[in-house]
Amino acid sequence: VSDCAKSTLEIVQPWVTWGVVVAGWFFVYHTTGLRERRKEDALLVDRIEQDVEKLRDLAIDYYTTTSDLPADQAKASQIKLELRSLGHRLRILRARNPDVYDLDSELIAFRKAISGGDFETMTRAARPSAEVMPRVWAASDDFVTALNIALQQAHPATPFRRR
């Protein structure tokens, strides 16, 4: 190796070493950020799933019990309050990635399933659970499925990112 090449190597080597260190730092910083962001999204999604499950149980209880006015109104009010909270949480999630977490149509379908038809009407009569449960479960399952698909789309797996 010539003296010229040796001296060039001596100059370049520290720069290469530092370059590798800085690139490594950026890589770790970037992937950690992505992982943390997914964790935050997953936490919100979990919370929304809990809301949906709670609403599903409230709706089944509401539709399968006899309409007893004061108790009935309290249950209906709780369902509306929970629906309101669900809408707000979904909006927070949507703000994090508006294109992927656009779940308005799924939310509307779920809301219709549990508070449409004869919800809060005097003519409502208790229905058999065999009639109510499939409808409410199907609506909640559809919503939760769409939510989890959106989470996967927002954070697709890559070779360097483990779930």
Binding site: Q73, A76, S77, I79, K80, L81, E82, L83, R84, G87, H88, L90, R91, D104, S105, L107, I108, R111, K112, S115, G116, G117, D118, F119, E120, T121, M122
Partner: protein, 104 residues
């Protein structure tokens, strides 16, 4: 501007008069239709500030405008503005009932 929470109730619920003190039919008959018929200007409905909405209330209040009060979907698109800052899906749902009522 009609604010549901301020001009009607923070606790809207039910479909018909018989269903409770603040049903969708009452909101439509006593606030929405008179406002739309009073002039040709745009009527804004602020849906924020209530305990929440059941779909039955929204369907009766807004779908009923086309189904029962003779408004057309096109006319309402020009003259009715719905707002809900904290949950825009409520607005989308209400418009869904208006357009669905127009399809029949």
């Amino acid at each position: 501007v009609i604010s549901v929470a301020k001009d009607f109730s923070q606790y809207p619920g039910g479909r018909f008069y018989a269903d409770g003190p603040y049903p969708g039919e009452k909101f439509r008959n006593e606030l929405l239709v008179p406002a739309l018929r009073a002039s040709q200007s745009v009527v804004t409905v602020d849906l924020d500030g209530t305990i929440g909405y059941g779909s039955s209330f929204l369907e009766e209040a807004f779908g009923g405008l086309v189904r029962l009060d003779g408004f057309t979907v096109g006319e309402l698109r020009d003259r009715l503005k719905l707002e809900h800052a904290s949950d825009p899906s409520i607005v989308a749902e209400a418009w869904g009932y208006i357009t669905d009522a127009g399809v029949v």
